[in-house]
Amino acid sequence: MDLLTPELGLFFWTLIAFLVVFFILGKFAWKPILGILSEREKGITEAIASAEKMKGEMSQMKSENEKLMAQAHEERTAMLKEAKDIKDRIIGEAKEIAKTEANKIIIEAQAQINQQKNAAMTEVKNEIGTLALEVAEKILRKQLNSNEGQEAYMNMLANDIKLN
């Protein structure tokens, strides 16, 4: 059939046109387009990989943080406990010291009280003595003021001697 015989002219022009298109596009279109496409894909793959890596790092950091937090918590408890112990100890010690100090003060006070009491007693005794002597003197003066008194006193003294 007529339709199945290729025409030389069309074949020739097609060949030339195709080759021209091929070389022009190959140089100025396909090369940059494919280059940029692959570059972009590479960029995307890298971005995904780095995001994945970041994710891993983040989770690692998170677990590290948690570990740190737990550690800090533990430390805090320990510190609190220690502080409490110290407090108790200090309070205990202070109490002890206060007690002994108080005792010492009490003892001292007692001693002082006793001393002053004794002093006061001696003074009182002396005072009483002098008072009694004064009273006795006064009484004697009164009794010995009169003759009868003197006589009676002499008699009494004489009686005393007699008795001895």
Binding site: D2, E7, L8, T14, A17, V20, F22, L37
Partner: protein, 387 residues
């Protein structure tokens, strides 16, 4: 994979449809002429249409770009004739010099033009330039198909270069936009579905420019051919032959030792079978480009013929009666729209199939020895047979 075989199945279906239809068209034509003969009194012969001339006038190449007829005068763009003959040398003139056509009783169905510069054109299904002195004529005219191709070449170059410019301007980090996006989809499709699966991840990049050029060249030409008044460029055997010879050429150049070894001395085959197998293999090697040629040619031609026939039905029925013609308009238009949609699909599918088979052939030629024997080969053949 299933997607590909579905595509291929569609092609088989349409191909068969397309092949059936020309014969259908011819039978319709016969009936029309007979009815025209019987109803000669009220339907003068001039009004009846010659379907063969009409259809093949539309689908075959021409030395002028004919659009329509205004009254009796054709509205057409004359194209340059570039002729070479050994006796007369190179001759360039406009095709509008061939304007008077007559028929010769000795050659039925042939229209003969007036003589100009020692040449005349004989138009049957195709136009043939004949030298008056009987010498051989090499016709390198810018025909309708060539001009259509030049337009599509300009279109492809403009689209791709502007897209490439956009890529260069945007760099790798900018997202594609507008037409760049559409082109990128096609480019990535060719790369990921055609080149990489068939050629392998290591070697595919070398063949990408060729595959992309083939794909867009065929696709855009297919689409341009679908425009009303467009040329049936990819439905011309010279074109498809040229394209398939290019892919055959690339395959032959790139074929490695492993390919030739398998072809000429198939391993693990008894000697007696080898005498049978090697010729078959060699024949199959040459059948590949032939299959490529015929596939694209037949599919595009068939699509054009079917659309033309469906439209022509209006006039065939109008030849019977005016009312039948008017009544058939909606049916015909609906069919034509359906076929047109189908052809839009086929335009892309055929471009894809051609590119894919080119990749398959090149892939089989550059295949390395470490592949599992047999499996890949069968797989390639399967694609080829289905497609």
């Amino acid at each position: 994979m299933s997607c590909k075989s579905l595509f291929s199945l569609l092609i088989v279906a349409f191909g068969a449809f397309g092949f059936v239809n020309p014969s259908f068209a011819q039978t319709t034509e016969e009936t029309t002429t007979t009815t025209a003969a019987t109803t000669e009194e009220h339907a003068p012969e001039k009004k009846g249409i010659n379907l063969t001339e009409l259809v093949f006038g539309h689908v075959s190449d021409s030395h002028e770009w004919h659009f329509f007829e205004l009254g009796e005068k054709p509205v057409a763009i004359p194209l340059p004739m570039i002729l070479y003959s050994p006796t007369k040398g190179l001759d360039i003139f406009s095709s509008h010099h061939f304007e008077e056509w007559h028929r010769d009783a000795a050659m039925p169905g042939v229209q003969i033009s007036n003589e100009h510069n020692g040449y005349h054109i004989e138009k049957m299904m195709k136009e043939k330039v004949i030298a008056e002195d009987g010498s051989k004529v090499y016709d390198l005219s810018i025909t309708k198909n060539v001009l259509s191709m030049l337009i599509s070449v300009a279109l492809i170059l403009w689209i791709m270069l502007s897209v490439a410019k956009k890529y260069k301007a945007g760099g790798a980090t900018k997202a594609p936009s507008g037409f760049q996006n559409a082109t990128e989809t096609a480019i990535l499709f060719i790369r990921d579905e055609v080149a990489i699966p068939n050629l392998g991840k290591k070697k595919y990049i070398k063949y990408m420019p060729m595959l992309l050029t083939v794909f867009f060249f065929i696709w855009i030409n297919n689409l341009l051919g679908l425009l009303p008044g467009g040329a049936n460029f990819t439905g011309n055997i010279a074109v498809t032959l040229c394209l398939s010879l290019i892919s055959f050429f690339v395959m032959m150049i790139r074929a490695n030792k492993h390919f030739w070894g398998h072809l000429l001395n198939p391993p693990g085959v008894p000697l007696g079978i080898k005498f049978l197998l090697v010729p078959i293999e060699i024949i199959s090697m040459f059948i590949k480009p032939v299959a490529l040629t015929i596939r694209l040619f037949a599919n595009m031609l068939a699509g054009h013929i079917v659309i033309l026939c469906v439209i022509s039905m209006i006039f065939i029925f109008a030849g019977l009666s005016k009312f039948a013609g008017i009544g058939f308009v909606p049916v015909s238009i609906a069919f034509a729209i359906f076929m047109f949609m189908l052809e839009l699909l086929v335009a892309a599918i055929q471009a894809f199939i051609f590119t894919n088979l080119t990749a398959v052939f090149i892939g089989s030629a550059i295949e390395e020895a470490h592949h599992a024997e047999g499996v890949d080969h069968e797989h390639n053949d399967a694609i080829e047979i289905i497609a």
